[in-house]
Symmetry: C2
Subunit: 208 residues, 2 copies
């Protein structure tokens, strides 16, 4: 095992795994408190209580620490909620996204910001998101099995349509968070997949 490689250092449940958890907790808490500029091997060692030499040997630098935060997140068991309907599932998903972004002190916001500072974080963030969106595709396949979606729907496109307005409004545009944003964006996106006669947003109009 190459101890210089954080990937090789993962032994679930062992002392190595506990060290990793302490270090990665320190990384995210420092990132939220002080931003990318507050991150250093020394600060992480002090915050985590893990010896500086160990942090340096396993993670090498701030980029290696950030990369491992994304790797750890990718290894969790998260799946989207199953509420029984496409709209319900998209609303539940968006409520989670909203909660992850609503505070100035959110880890997600801090990681997005870090991805504009660290080349390694910039490379890791898209992969993390691809994995999350892939896990969400079950929301669309369940809706197809239930017969909610009759036509062709590109799952990734629908999931991005639902969630992107939250990232755009809260992270890039700096709008104040309002809880209804989550449900609104979910319903707007669902519309393109399942317009229903008389359903929400439906307006009867003659075709041209």
């Amino acid at each position: 095992m190459d101890e210089g490689d954080p990937h090789g250092a993962v032994r679930p449940g062992g002392r190595t795994a506990r060290t990793r958890a302490l270090v990665l907790d320190a990384v995210t808490s420092l990132l939220v408190e002080a931003g990318y500029d507050g991150l250093s091997i020394d600060a992480v060692a002090e915050r985590s209580g893990v010896h500086r030499a160990t942090v340096y040997r396993r993670w090498r630098d701030v980029g290696g620490l950030l990369l491992d935060v994304f790797d750890a997140a990718a290894g969790d068991e998260w799946v989207p909620a199953d509420t029984g309907s496409l709209v319900g599932d998209l609303i539940a998903l968006n409520q989670e996204v909203f909660e992850s972004l609503r505070d100035e002190t959110s880890v997600t916001r801090a990681l997005i910001a870090a991805s504009f500072r660290s080349a390694q974080a910039a490379e890791a963030l898209p992969g993390f998101w691809r994995d999350r969106y892939r896990r969400c595709e079950v929301v669309v396949s369940r809706a197809q099995r239930r017969g909610e979606i009759a036509g062709e729907v590109e799952a990734h496109r629908l999931l991005v349509a639902a969630t992107a307005p939250l990232y755009h409004r809260l992270v890039l545009m700096g709008e104040p968070p309002r809880v209804e944003m989550a449900e609104q964006a979910a319903r707007d996106a669902a519309c393109s997949a399942l317009p229903v006669i008389g359903g929400p947003g439906y307006q009867a109009r003659p075709t041209e």
Copy 2:
């Protein structure tokens, strides 16, 4: 006039305006080439050919330079294209957004990245976007005048639904740009405002 304030230094058409144009061009070209770390009063002075003391006196620091880039952009005459239909207007808008983001060397990408580095840029970017989205609201009011939209539509929400997937996929998620993204996101967003019997994406389903 306080020459330390870039707002006060604007005299359209005069020597001051030419100096400002040279300096701001230097800021955006340096930003695109070398990122935030490549920006400094010295680098801007050298690139623009404007005396270092003048740059320092009028813009003070990198934050002041970035702030003035946003101020200058807010002062342009941009309006969204009028194509005669809501879907057409949203597609035209999204094609502009797409073009502004598609290259790694885009000014928009560079300014978004800078907003995660500079507190002044972070404060200025949302205001710039609010102004742009406000100018786009005419797209929705024109559609209402034409009778395309019968119900209540929140203009800002619809415009963000159309454009946000492009920012999310191209800037945050790092997806490779595909030209069809612009039209797809525009059509998906338009759906929530004007579902039409037999129109694109329409599926007849009984109401529950």
